[in-house]
C-alpha cells in the first residue's frame, strides 16, 4: 500500500491508489520540462494514461502566490506555508484522484523544490520535512543534475535574463544578479544533495543533450512498470528527439 511521509491525510484512503507517481526534480534549466514531456509521450505510446502536475497550478491560491511574488510583501515563513497550501490542494484534488483512477501521475517538481527553497531561506530542514510529511511517497524521484554554468546559459538562452527568484535575489546574497544566481544555485544544490540521501532520489547527469538524458530516464522508470512496458531501450539514443525542447519564452519559472 502507498505511504505518505508519516502524516496521514484526513479523509483519504490509500488503499485504492492504483496508479504510479513519478517525480522529476531539478533546477530551472536542467531540462526538466522537456524530460517530462518526452517521458509522457513514451508512456502514452505504450498505452499508459498520464496526468501531469507541477507547482503553482492549483486554482486555490496560485493567484495569491503570483501577487505575493510581484509585491515581495510576504515573509519567508508565510511564503513557505502558502506554497504548501498550493501543493496540498494539488495533491488532494488532482494527484490522489488521478492515482485512484489508475493513471500515472508525472510531477514536474514536487515537495522537494519547495522544501529546498524554504530551507535556503532560513527554515530548518526538520520543519520543512515535517511540513510536507503528508505528501505521498513517489514510486521514483528523478533528479536532473546540471552544473550552475550550464543552468546559467540555458536560462539566458531561454529568457534572455536571469529570473529574480531563481537568482535568489530576495536573499540579498549579492546585489549582482549574476553572482547571486551562482550562490543561490549552489545552496539549492546542497539541499538537493541532502534530500537525495534522505529520500533516495535517482540522479542523472543533465549537462548532456535531452535525448541522452531521456534514455536514462526510461531506464529509471522502467522497473515500475515491469513487463507492462514493451520496449525499454527504444530508439531514443539514435533517433532525434520527437518533440525537442519546446520554446517557452512566455512562461517564467515558478
Amino acid at each position: 500500500m502507498r505511504k505518505t511521509y508519516g502524516t496521514r491525510i484526513p479523509g483519504f484512503s490509500r488503499e485504492h491508489l492504483r496508479g504510479h507517481l513519478i517525480v522529476v526534480e531539478g533546477a530551472d534549466g536542467s531540462g526538466r520540462t522537456t524530460e517530462v514531456e518526452l517521458l509522457r509521450e513514451w508512456l502514452e505510446v505504450q498505452g499508459h494514461p498520464v496526468v501531469d502536475t507541477g507547482l503553482r497550478r492549483s486554482t486555490l491560491v496560485s493567484e495569491q502566490i503570483d501577487q505575493a511574488k510581484q509585491g515581495h510583501t510576504l515573509g519567508t515563513t508565510t511564503m513557505a506555508l502558502l506554497y504548501a497550501v498550493d501543493f496540498a490542494d494539488q495533491l488532494e484534488n488532482k494527484i490522489l484522484p488521478s492515482l485512484a483512477a489508475g493513471s500515472t501521475v508525472l510531477a514536474d517538481r514536487y515537495i522537494y523544490t519547495l522544501m529546498g527553497r524554504a530551507v535556503v531561506r532560513g527554515a530548518s530542514r526538520e520543519w520543512a520535512r515535517k511540513l510536507y510529511s503528508f505528501a505521498l511517497e513517489p514510486d521514483v524521484t528523478i533528479l536532473l543534475d546540471a552544473r550552475p554554468e550550464i543552468l546559467l546559459h540555458r536560462a539566458i538562452a531561454k529568457y534572455g535574463s536571469l529570473d529574480y527568484w531563481e537568482s535568489g535575489m530576495d536573499l540579498s546574497l549579492s546585489r549582482d544578479r549574476f553572482e547571486s544566481f551562482f550562490l543561490y544555485q549552489r545552496r539549492m544544490a546542497e539541499e538537493f544533495d541532502w534530500m537525495s540521501q534522505e529520500y533516495g532520489f535517482v540522479r542523472t547527469d543533465a549537462n548532456r543533450p535531452p535525448n541522452l538524458v531521456h534514455r536514462d530516464v526510461r531506464r529509471m522508470v522502467a522497473p515500475i512498470f515491469g513487463a507492462r512496458l514493451a520496449e525499454i531501450e527504444g530508439p531514443a539514443a539514435e533517433e532525434p528527439v520527437p518533440r525537442a525542447a519546446p520554446a517557452r519564452t512566455s512562461a517564467r519559472p515558478g
Binding site: T7, R8, I9, P10, L60, T77, A88, D89, K130, F134
Partner: protein
C-alpha cells in the same frame, strides 16, 4: 564609524493570549485588558485571529468549488497566522510591547484536531510562534457558547459550525457538536500547554479581576512607554 545598531535579541515584550470557545467572553476581556494596561502607561499592541483578505477570499472560493479539505484548511490558516505573526506580532514583541492576542496558535490546534488533522503535524506548522508568557483559557459550557452565539444574532458560518464534517444537517445542531469537540481539545490543551484557566460563566467584573490578578506579576519591572521614548 557608524553608530552601533540597536541590539537585536529575542522577544523582549510580553505575549498574552486569550483562548476559548465563541461566546466565552474573551474578546470583551481582551479589550478591557488592553484599556487597563494602556491607562497605566504600558505600550500595548492588540491583534485578533480575524482572517485576512487572502484567507477569507480563498475560503470563499474554495467553499464554492468544494475544494477545501481539513489539510488545506489547516495550511491556509497557518499561512494567515504566519503573515500576521511576521507583520504584527513579532515586530512589536521585539520592540518591547505587551502584545495581546485574541486567539493564537492554540485555536488552530483545537480546530484542526477536531477536523481530524494529525496534532504533531499541526504543532510543527506553528513552530515559529513563541510560547506565550500567559495563556488564558476562558472556559464555558457548550450551552453557554451556543446561547450567546444565538443571542448575538450573528449568522453562524459554515465552517464555524463544522458543517464540512457532516456532524449534522442542521447548522445549529452541527455548531453545538463541533463546539463540544473544540471544548474537549481545549480542555486537553489546558493541561499540556499550561493554560491559566478562567471559569468564564460568571459576571464580567469577576472575570476582569481574575484576569488582572494573573497579569500583574508580568508587569513587575516592565518599562512603561514614557521611559522609552524620552530617554
Amino acid at each position: 564609524m557608524p553608530e552601533a545598531a540597536p541590539t537585536l535579541t529575542g522577544p523582549t515584550g510580553r505575549l498574552i493570549v486569550l483562548e476559548g470557545l465563541d461566546g466565552s467572553g474573551k474578546s470583551t476581556q481582551a479589550r478591557l485588558l488592553m484599556k487597563w494596561l494602556q491607562a497605566r502607561g504600558y505600550r500595548v499592541f492588540f491583534t485578533e485571529w480575524n482572517s485576512s483578505e487572502l484567507v477569507s477570499e480563498t475560503i470563499r472560493r474554495g467553499k464554492k468549488k468544494g475544494l477545501l479539505t481539513p489539510t488545506t484548511f489547516s495550511l491556509l490558516h497557518a499561512t494567515d497566522f504566519a503573515d500576521r505573526f511576521e507583520r504584527h506580532i513579532q515586530p512589536p514583541l521585539r520592540a518591547g510591547y505587551i502584545v495581546i492576542c485574541d486567539r493564537y496558535a492554540f485555536t488552530a490546534f483545537a480546530r484542526d484536531a477536531a477536523r481530524g488533522c494529525d496534532p504533531p503535524w499541526v504543532r510543527n506548522l506553528y513552530r515559529f510562534a513563541p510560547v506565550p508568557d500567559l495563556t488564558f483559557y476562558f472556559r464555558v459550557p457548550v450551552a453557554t457558547s451556543l446561547k450567546r452565539k444565538l443571542a448575538s444574532r450573528q449568522k453562524i458560518s459554515y465552517y464555524e459550525a463544522g458543517m464540512d464534517l457532516g456532524l449534522a444537517d442542521d447548522i445549529v445542531a452541527s455548531y453545538e457538536r463541533f463546539q463540544a469537540r473544540l471544548k474537549r481539545e481545549y480542555d486537553s490543551l489546558a493541561e499540556t500547554d499550561h493554560f491559566t484557566v478562567i471559569e468564564a460563566d460568571r459576571p464580567v467584573e469577576q472575570i476582569l479581576s481574575a484576569v488582572r490578578r494573573e497579569v500583574r506579576p508580568l508587569l513587575t519591572g516592565f518599562p512603561k512607554m514614557e521611559s522609552l521614548i524620552h530617554a
